[in-house]
């Protein structure tokens, strides 16, 4: 079943087109990797899907489980947001409000969509925090974001995104700010949870390695357009577009002999 269907999405800020006629679709339970270099429009795409873009003109269609998001009224989109489609941002520190304990911020997400008592919400928060691997969840729920390390903060973000068991998670560079060893932890966590909840993931990253390890399908973006899309194995083994090929060749790999020079675009 197609969960998310983006058709001919175009986003412009004034005269500049950040996203230009982008189309892709995502089946429920699957992982779609959106890769591309900095500034190619990945984040703008994700924000457009979430309806969080300010001051941009948008055209095209974004269908989510039978709802067209771009033209529906704001209230309806807001109800979906957080509940059925959730988002994880790149920089977990600035994405968490420094003035509130993390437990409160997760509970807030939950209570925005489910009528529960504070107490029930607290219990859910603690369960969620334990679930994403935060030790002493009960106590840490009362801590503020700045008291967590980068990896822990990203776990909090994940707990927040998953607490309502959404059907789709949009993860915009969830590991870019993290170290490789922590990145490995977070990717593994996302993987387990995704399988457990059957959630579809739109994984945005510039790291081809991350896509290779996680995604089922890949869309390669360049300058706001999709230059290539396909099933992950096919795309990596036999990239049809020269851009994709060069991009792959530019990555210094640790599993191959050291080349004299790296390929450049």
């Amino acid at each position: 079943m197609t969960l998310l269907d983006v058709r001919n999405l175009t986003v412009s800020f004034g005269d500049t087109r950040a996203v230009d006629g982008l189309s892709f679709s995502l089946e429920s339970g699957r992982v779609l990797g959106l890769v591309g270099e900095s500034g190619c429009g990945k984040s703008v795409t994700s924000l457009a899907v979430m309806g969080l873009l300010n001051g941009a003109t948008t055209s095209g269609e974004v269908w989510f489980d039978g709802h067209e998001l771009l033209t529906s009224d704001r209230r309806a989109v807001r109800r979906l947001r957080g509940d059925r489609l959730a988002m994880i941002f790149q920089d977990p520190l600035s994405s968490l409000n420094p003035y509130y304990p993390v437990g409160f911020q997760i509970a807030e997400a939950y209570r925005a969509h489910r009528r529960t008592s504070r107490k029930q919400a607290r219990a859910i928060v603690v369960r969620m925090l334990e679930r994403v691997g935060i030790p002493e969840a009960e106590r840490r729920a009362r801590d503020y974001p700045h008291q967590f390390s980068g990896g822990m903060r990203q776990r909090v973000m994940i707990a927040m995104a998953l607490c309502l068991e959404p059907e789709l998670i949009i993860a915009d560079e969830p590991t870019t700010a993290l170290d490789v060893t922590v990145q490995a932890q977070i990717l593994a966590l996302l993987d387990t949870l995704r399988e457990e909840y059957g959630t579809a993931v739109l994984l945005i990253t510039h790291d081809l390695g991350v896509v290779a390890g996680t995604a089922d399908e890949v869309v390669v973006m360049y300058g706001g357009r999709a230059v290539e899309r396909g099933e992950v194995h096919a795309l990596f083994e036999d990239p049809r577009e020269p851009y994709t090929r060069r991009l792959l060749a530019a990555v210094p790999r640790i599993d191959r002999p050291v080349p004299d020079r790296l390929e450049t675009l």
Partner: protein, 330 residues
Amino acid sequence: MTPLLEAESLVKRFPVRHPLTRRVTGHLTAVDGVSLTVRRGETLGLVGESGCGKSSTARLITRLAEPTGGTIRFDGRDITTMGEAALRPVRRDLQMIFQDPFSSLNPRMTIEAILSAPFRYQGLKPEPGQIAELLRRVGLRPEHAERLPHQFSGGQAQRIGIARALALHPKLVVCDEPVSALDVSVQAQILNLLRDLQEEFELSYVFIAHDLGAVRQVCGRIAVMYLGTIVEIADRDELFARPAHPYTAALLAAVPIPDPRIERARPRVVLSGDLPSPANPPSGCPFRTRCPRAAERCALERPALAEGAPGHRVACHFPLDTSLSREGAP
């Protein structure tokens, strides 16, 4: 021949202050007894995770920061306590390239001014055409000289930073994550450029990165840092083929490989827990809190950086490769 750079037991400690009261509440040891040497013409890589003290080490060996302890010898001279004036001539031979290409260029200066600054600050004058030649050398055009930094892309700006470091033909260039802020395609160009320039100018590099792929591409020898200390140091191929420290192994395993077939087949070594805070390091071996092989001894005794195989030194009580182990596996 003496090594170009010899750093001996470098320590850098910062006071930790309360944000409101400004009272010193403790100390943060960013660099905790780092010793390394750089030979003439070689590239020494320094990898490690964020906050492990790479930049601090770089700042110490370029004397941008005052070491709390240890000595630095550069080109046969002890520069540990040299004053600003005495250091000035040394700086001609000891240059640095920075991580953020824009932040490292003064936004109010033209490229011309930025590139003539090395001469000016050394009391020299660039010869006519020298700036243009520099620009050409790093792949830019002479007419770029009149522009301001913001008129360049990240990759171009980093080239300017490189040109500035090379202006006075230094012997050693410390590169602190020169490619981390760049996209892969641009990163590749810069890595190639650094290699080309090394041959041309007979440079030595200290190349800092958190990306093992990039380090592997340019370095002959690689040191792995963890929590302010060097845990392993070896020739490139040796390190990648036979990592002896469990941390090095975990690091290698965590690097994603852009090939689904290989990547999905690899066993995932997921380290538990986070990097401890350098303000509150664990006792004994700094890695023991995340180490799958940690034993009682690791908490009590700090392993020294000892040579196992020739040129391969590791600081671990229970290294992975038994040939390096002094006492055998647990």
